[in-house]
Symmetry: C2
Subunit: 332 residues, 2 copies
């Protein structure tokens, strides 16, 4: 059954059946001019939006609809996590070819709903319309306590630069997806692909880190070095990154060998890890490690914030220091 | 100069220069993972989103970039107005061909910003990315007092159905735009085209109507009869609409004559008027008229809400009653 066979209103009804889950803070959900929710009672509201276009940001040849729905919500939640915040409400815009199977749209929404439930988000409204290519826009409303807000511009000279988790798995997974001829054990390949298709935003680590009093924080969407550069520019500081301290995800080295790259380059430039990179006063170092260990999240100190006059330097295994070459993702 | 010549970050800087205007409630605007704003202190938050795709919702052959920006904000504000609310913050997603002139994108944002300033909205963030066709998604956060919220489902049997302004101008303007051979006086044609390109959302009338205690309210995006049908379905009521009471905008009759249609059909089915249709207890009728007159907004009583068993009927000039045939816009 195609979207054009059931029409706009029946499609919205089907979507509403998938996404509605009870919540005393949601006054009106799908089916009026706007969604109506209770505002957060204290602190700040966080507002973010993200547009995904078929054959630019994804291709349905490699990702299935459920995964695409899950990922589109997860990456937006990651932006909220990077502020130290909690995701609350989402509105979804969806444009599709009227020839699209209704099943496919329902799977997409099931993926969105599954990611939403996992992270305490409620999808409360949206827009459906037509276009040649599939287009998904997620707009997300979250909240954060005033004292917990982690700005990109909050890094201080002397801060330790730290990162959650391990890097490079998503980028290595993408290489496997685009080059099926790369031979890797099924289980290893599966883990890397999963990192690419189903990133897990670091909401809980972000909340804890923010409450401990860390300074600047970003989620790693464009690649570690690109995010560190953003922090340095916004904070008017420099940075030193130690390559031997950067946690490279398992299996990235094998993919790198097969593609003729260095694993460390995939890890620091690959992007879409959706881990958190943050800067913290030195005296918080131990506390941060304890807190992250307590929730099973790996954390590593990978560098330090220095005066802006030093620029951004990368220190190689040999101890050699060289200026950072940024190769993060840009859209044009 | 093309978008690809300056790249993503320079484009975002240019956009930030156009849209940033001071506001003590905006904590962080363009340039971090999310926008940060102070939440409304009382009442409900309103959240809405709208996706516009080139050659589906607009063509740049007929609308210029400034107009497109203005309209894309105005139609979203209209959804907030229909709840009795005030628009507060917007985040904009924009996808464009990298070959697009930077001037064109700046004009688009100037249009968005001009509409935003006019209605007290602040653009606080967004996303820019690439695609073959121009894609605009507006997500909007507003607020309304609990007691003022006007749901689609709030119509009561016995209510008078009323409408602000005059109908059909936007649809008649669209006919002129699509058929340049239709000969109309320049001034008349200009007014109709303007109604199509630059709709004015009825925020102030919506606020006043909501505060007076009207019941259901909708903005007219898909056409009057379509909106009345939505109200009836959501409220489980029927309706009687008197064709001779419906205020038809000036010039619609001339266009109708030239296209071989009836002016009343353009007025009740055309859509995109962004006037408000609402239902009010009979005893509020006089008060509503006085209040609207006081702010220079025309208002007309065009029908009545009846029991659901009566269905939705249209009463012609002859007094003949017939079931409503809905011909509002649907997307598939």
């Amino acid at each position: 059954m195609k979207v054009k066979d059931i029409g706009e209103f029946a499609l919205i009804e089907r979507i509403a059946e998938i996404v509605e889950h009870a919540d005393e803070r949601v006054i009106l959900t799908i089916g009026d001019d706007t969604a109506v929710v209770r505002p957060t009672e204290s602190g700040y509201s966080l507002l973010t939006t993200d547009l995904l276009v078929e054959n630019v940001h994804f291709t349905l040849d490699t990702i299935n609809s459920w995964q695409l729905g899950y990922k589109s919500i997860a990456v937006n939640i990651s932006d909220i996590a990077a502020m130290g915040g909690l995701p609350n409400y989402a509105v979804i815009s969806l444009a599709m070819d009227p020839e699209t199977d209704v099943d496919q749209i329902e799977d997409l929404y099931r993926g969105m709903e599954d990611a939403s439930i996992k992270y305490g988000l409620r999808i409360v409204g949206g827009d459906v319309t037509k276009s040649e290519k599939l287009i998904i826009n997620v707009a997300l409303l979250g909240e954060v306590e005033e004292e917990n807000l982690c700005r990109r511009s909050d890094a201080m000279v002397g801060d330790v630069i730290m990162v959650t988790g391990e890097l490079g798995a998503s980028a290595a997974g993408l290489r496997l997806i685009l080059n099926p001829e790369i031979a890797l054990k099924v289980k290893e390949a599966g883990a890397l692909k999963r990192a690419h298709f189903l990133p897990e935003p670091r909401v809980e680590p972000g909340r804890i880190l923010a409450s401990l009093g860390i300074n600047a924080m970003e989620d790693i969407s464009d690649g570690l070095v690109s995010e560190v550069k953003h922090i340095c520019e916004a904070s008017s500081v420099g940075a030193r990154l130690f390559l031997n301290k950067i946690p490279v995800a398992k299996g990235v080295d094998k993919v790198a060998t097969l593609t003729g790259e260095r694993a460390i380059d995939i890890a620091i430039s690959g992007g879409e890890d959706y881990e958190l990179v943050f800067t913290a006063p030195k005296e918080l170092n131990g506390l941060v490690e304890k807190a992250m260990t307590a929730i099973g999240t790996r954390v590593a100190a990978i560098g330090e914030i220095v005066d802006i006059s030093n620029g951004i330097k990368v220190i190689d295994w040999s101890g050699e220091e060289r200026p950072l070459e940024v190769s993060g993702y840009t859209h044009f």
